[in-house]
């Protein structure tokens, strides 16, 4: 095995393993920590694809911010192990797993069948270093996708306002007057 493929398989194993813990662990805190692990592994996968800046952002935003929020909220709620972590229903459970299996299988099959025809599997050797690649990214973000970029700014503003407003709600819709 070459170093590159070794790296990929290690990272992939870490990602899938963590993801399995996320959906199987009964304690939500462990779920969130496993998800943080998965995020870090995905950052590694981005890096192995030479998307260094995206990997860094993945670390900072997902692992360093979003998952911290999850962990903090779970600690805030002080949730214990769940007696019944999974939803009930034999029939619907069967349908759920079946549909997921079909989707997963079909995606995998589609990938398997078609990648050869899309383009060759060997990527072009990296020709620019991370800083230059990041500059190319900036070129895209601020020229081609400028509108989306500014829209993102507006979205974040709205979310900031909305989050504060939501956190102020005292009761729910069922609160008695």
């Amino acid at each position: 095995m070459t170093a590159d493929s070794l790296l990929f398989f290690i990272l992939a194993a870490m990602t899938v393993g963590s993801a399995l813990v996320v959906i199987l662990a009964s304690n939500p805190i462990f779920c969130s920590l496993a998800l943080a692990m998965a995020m870090i592994s995905v950052a590694g996968i981005f890096a192995s694809l030479n998307a260094w800046f995206v990997a860094g952002v993945q670390l900072i935003v997902y692992a360093g911010a979003v998952m911290v929020l999850f962990v903090m909220v779970l600690m805030l709620f002080d949730l214990k192990d769940e007696v019944r972590a999974f939803s009930r229903g034999l029939v619907s459970g069967f349908f759920k797993i079946a549909s997921v299996a079909v989707i997963g299988g079909v995606i995998a099959a589609a990938v398997w069948m078609s990648t050869e025809t899309i383009f060759s599997t060997a990527p072009a050797a990296p020709t620019v270093n991370a800083t230059v690649a990041t500059k190319q990214l900036a070129d895209l973000l601020f020229k081609k996708y400028l509108f989306s970029f500014e829209a993102m700014g507006a979205l974040l503003l709205i979310i900031a306002i909305g989050a504060v407003a939501l956190s102020r709600i005292e009761g729910g819709t069922h609160a008695d007057k």
């Binding site: 619907s92 549909s99 079909v102 989707i103 079909v106 099959a109 589609a110």
Partner: protein, 655 residues
């Protein structure tokens, strides 16, 4: 600097001002709100100047166009968000942002005692943004967005003091009346799209370039032109849709100056000038435009003679002047229309602001019968008002003379013109001179007719005085950009008609020979000036020398006076003959058709849908995971279908 950048600043500065003031709408800090708004418009003005500069020079482009992004693409219709400054919109954008800046500045002083200055300035900025959309939009749809936007702002600002029921009603009236026009405008856009398959000005003009002139009334271009003119009628207050404009004076006076005199109401004229290559192909439509314009010019001017509200007088004057512009458009003198639009923006904004200053000084008194002798109290306002007065009645060399005279001359000499149109114009001009002099006399001259011990009129603060002075200067010299050839020839250095030269490539001219000679032009010019002068003298004698005479005349001609004083009973007519029948007809329809047929039908449909719904309701449990399950089943099926799953499986197992 890059055009994209400048256009963005030009358009976004008022929008940002609107957002800032809109977000702090509760604030009562009129100075801060006003400064933000004025600053925003001033930035916009500077950007406009910088863009317009690109049009100068020997090898300058004919137009600066930027396209930001695609707005919509529906079938054959592709509408980009694109803006253009060419020689027509350059004039308009400079006037709108320039005069707009001055009026914003004036508003700071005028709104200093108001309860909601931030809201006011936010609306004002938003208006300006929409106006710029209207002017700069590169296609009819973008123009329509601005068109509706200014209508909305106009409504909001007329009804700005909505706690007064009448003022709120005035806003409503303006909105509803404009809707009629807008319907026409939309039909016009549809017709054009149906006809030419595009809504872009550039493409419209290049597509109609080779078309023959249409004869008769039923041609598609004539139809489109007439529809568009209906839109213009609504926005620019022409007979029969002018009724909203006098009532619109319920809004704050700077609003009247900005929206209902200088900018928004001229949008109709602008639109026709913009599409002049289209209109020129429909002479019959142009005849309608000319006749409506001339009729409005005379009609509104006669009403103006008997009004006592200072702003109403100016409002009718505006309607009348707009009539002049349409008259110019109608005879194919689009350049003259633009010229009058610009000079009118200067002097009418000046007079409105002056009246604002008077109203402010008189503590919200608007009745000129209760004024008089204000000359000594308000020297600056008076001096600037005099400039505006001379300009509007058309005494050379002030701005109004040049533009009005060019319209009259074109009405006479153009191949589309007619002596009758010229005569109507002269009568309108004479009436204008009469009522403006009357307004001056009753407001500023003579003896004070208010209690000098109770009311102490005070001169405007600098923030109000500066715009007045600037506009007065512009009203005085604004006419020199369009000096007629006959005058230019006798002046030293032979200055040409700069405006005509500027607009030459952008607007269309009617085919055919102009009739009339230089001598003729001099004679007509003399006639119109002397008639206006005589009318002014007459008014002067009526209202200053012998103040009793108006009453005697009113007694002598009671019928005419009543007719004029009640504005020809048009509002009453509309109410009795159009609105009431509509209402009672609708009621009858409701009682019979609605209850018996439509309601029945909807009930049946409703019951059916409800039955379906309650069946389907069992699926909607509120359990989100079930919803997710439905989604995933659907996705799975979709994938199987897309990948031709059964076929492939068959291949796999079948061999």
């Amino acid at each position: 600097m890059q055009a994209e950048f400048l256009f963005a600043i030009l358009l976004l500065a008022p929008l940002i001002g609107f957002i800032i003031n809109g977000l702090r709408w509760k604030s009562k800090n009129y100075l801060l709100a006003g400064s933000i708004a004025t600053g925003a418009v001033a930035i916009s003005f500077i950007a406009a100047v910088l863009v317009v500069m690109k049009l100068f020079g020997a090898d300058a482009p004919k137009a600066v166009t930027v396209e930001y992004f695609k707005w919509m693409a529906v079938g054959g219709l592709e509408v980009p968000v694109a803006f253009v400054i060419d020689h027509i919109s350059a004039l308009m954008v400079l006037v709108v942002t320039g005069v707009g800046t001055l009026i914003h500045l004036f508003s700071i002083g005028y709104m200093s005692h108001d309860e909601r200055p931030s809201k006011y300035f936010a609306y004002l900025n938003f208006f300006l943004f929409n106006m710029l959309l209207l002017i700069l939009g590169e296609n009819l749809l973008l123009m329509f967005v601005g068109w509706e936007g200014v209508g909305l702002c106009s409504y909001l600002l007329i009804g700005f003091w909505f706690s007064d029921k009448e003022k709120a009603a005035a806003g409503m009236k303006a909105f509803v009346t404009n809707r009629i026009g807008d319907a026409g405008f939309l039909l016009g856009i549809f017709t054009i799209f149906f006809l030419l398959g595009t809504v872009s000005f550039d493409e419209i003009i290049s597509k109609v370039a080779g078309m023959p002139v249409e004869v008769g009334w039923s041609g598609p271009i004539t139809l489109a032109a007439l529809f568009l003119f209906i839109g213009a009628m609504g926005k620019s207050a022409q007979i029969p849709l002018y009724v909203w404009l006098p009532d619109a004076m319920a809004g704050p006076t700077p609003v009247s100056a900005l929206i209902h005199a200088a900018t928004m109401v001229t949008a109709g004229v602008y639109m026709i000038v913009r599409l002049s290559p289209l209109f020129i192909l429909a002479p019959n439509a142009l005849h309608v435009v000319a006749v409506v314009g001339a009729a409005t010019a005379v009609f509104a001017a006669t009403i103006g003679i008997t009004q006592f509200d200072i702003k109403k007088v100016l409002a009718y004057s505006t309607v009348s002047q707009l009539g002049f512009m349409f008259l110019a458009c109608g005879v194919g003198a689009f350049g003259a229309a633009m010229f009058h639009l610009v000079t009118h923006a200067f002097f009418k904004a000046l007079m409105f602001l002056g009246s604002g200053s008077v109203i402010h000084a008189m503590h919200e008194e608007q009745d000129i019968r209760k004024m008089g002798g204000l000359k000594k109290y308000l020297p600056i306002t008076h001096a600037t008002f005099v400039v505006g007065w001379i300009a509007i009645i058309g005494i050379p060399p002030f701005a109004g003379f040049f533009s009005k005279d060019e319209i009259l001359w074109k009405a006479f000499s153009s191949p589309l013109g007619h002596k009758g149109l010229w005569a109507a114009g002269v009568i309108g001009a004479a009436c204008t001179a009469f009522y403006m002099t009357r307004l001056m006399a009753l407001t500023f001259w003579g003896k004070p007719r208010f209690d000098e011990h109770k009311t102490h009129p005070h001169e405007a603060p600098p923030s109000m005085a500066i715009p007045l002075i600037v506009l007065a200067i512009l009203s005085a010299i604004g006419g020199f950009m369009g000096i007629p050839h006959v005058i230019g020839e006798i002046l030293p250095g032979h200055p040409g008609n700069w405006l005509e030269h500027w607009l030459a490539g952008s607007i269309a001219a009617p085919a055919g020979e102009a009739h009339g000679s230089a001598i003729m032009e001099w004679i007509l010019m003399g006639i119109s000036v002397s008639i206006a002068g005589l009318a002014a003298l007459l008014a002067f004698s009526f209202y200053v020398i012998e103040p009793d005479r108006p009453k005697q005349w009113a007694a002598r001609l009671p019928g005419l006076h009543r007719l004029l004083e009640n504005k020809y009973f048009v509002d009453e007519f509309y109410f009795e003959r159009i609105i009431n029948p509509l209402v009672s007809g609708s009621k009858a329809l409701w009682a019979f058709v609605d209850v018996n047929f439509i309601d029945r039908a909807t009930f049946v449909v409703g019951d059916f849908v409800r039955g379906m719904g309650s069946t389907a309701r069992t699926l909607q449990t509120g359990n989100m995971q079930q919803y997710a399950l439905y989604i995933s089943i659907a996705i799975a099926l979709m994938f199987v279908y897309l990948l031709e799953g059964p076929k492939r499986l068959a291949e796999l197992f079948g061999g």
